[in-house]
């Protein structure tokens, strides 16, 4: 079982550019959540996708958008990058369910905006 895989592992972008991060969930999982982890901070929930739709969203601007494909993989898109978007972006997969569902995390994508 490959677990949750994210690509790329590292990325450097310039302010104002757009970026796409990718995530493949753990085998058998149908729900993908994205988190942003700034340096020295805990992860913050961006949004969650289930059945190809955004099911819940955190306190992030519309510049952050996502997509889920029929095979349950997901993309996170960030437009008009700001320096403050520099962070580790974590993808977590789970089985659709309630608040007691265990989430499995990928290794993350380190985004640096210069």
């Amino acid at each position: 079982d490959a677990g949750v895989t994210q690509s790329p592992t590292h990325l450097i972008k310039t302010r104002g550019q757009q970026v796409t991060l990718r995530c493949s969930p753990k085998s058998g999982h149908d729900t993908v959540s994205w988190y942003q982890q700034a340096l020295g901070q805990g992860p913050q929930f961006i949004f969650q996708y289930y059945e190809e739709e955004e099911r819940q969203r955190g306190n992030f601007p519309d510049r952050f958008s996502g997509h889920q494909f029929p095979n349950y993989s997901s993309e996170l898109n960030v437009n008009a990058l700001l320096l403050g978007d520099s962070a580790l972006y974590l993808c977590a997969s789970s089985l659709a369910g309630g608040a007691n569902t265990e989430a499995f995390f990928g290794q993350g994508t380190r985004l640096t905006v210069v």
Binding site: F45, A92, G108
Partner: protein, 116 residues
């Protein structure tokens, strides 16, 4: 809204000594609590979780945690730490109230530094 407070940003400890990492949460509804560990340049790995039942939860790598509803705490403990336990530890609560989706709310993290 739910929140998680990790009371110590850094905890230095000598190898083979016991350790406790403190976590308090706020919630007005049923909660599910988790501890994750993050090694340098890696993602999060689940150490243990409290869903229901016994308030003493055992996890991987010799860690355990006790859910205390009256104190709204979920402290993580290990009786004897190893150098390899040096990492960042995150306490998290799952949000039952808003959508029941399994969204995790994390604390700020505690850096455990194990010294030889």
């Amino acid at each position: 809204a739910q929140s998680v407070t990790q009371l110590d940003s850094q905890v230095p400890v000598f190898e083979e000594a016991p350790v406790e990492l403190r976590c308090n949460y706020s919630s007005s509804v049923s909660v599910y609590l988790f501890w994750y560990v993050q090694y340098p340049n890696q993602g999060l790995q689940l150490l243990l979780k409290y869903l229901s039942g016994s308030t003493l939860v055992k996890g991987i790598n010799g860690f355990e945690a006790e859910f205390n509803k009256s104190q709204t705490s979920f402290h993580l403990r290990k009786p004897s730490v190893h150098i390899s336990d040096t990492a960042e530890y995150f306490c998290a609560v799952s949000d039952w109230g808003s959508g029941n989706t399994g969204k995790l709310i994390f604390g700020q993290g505690t850096t455990l530094q194990v010294k030889p």
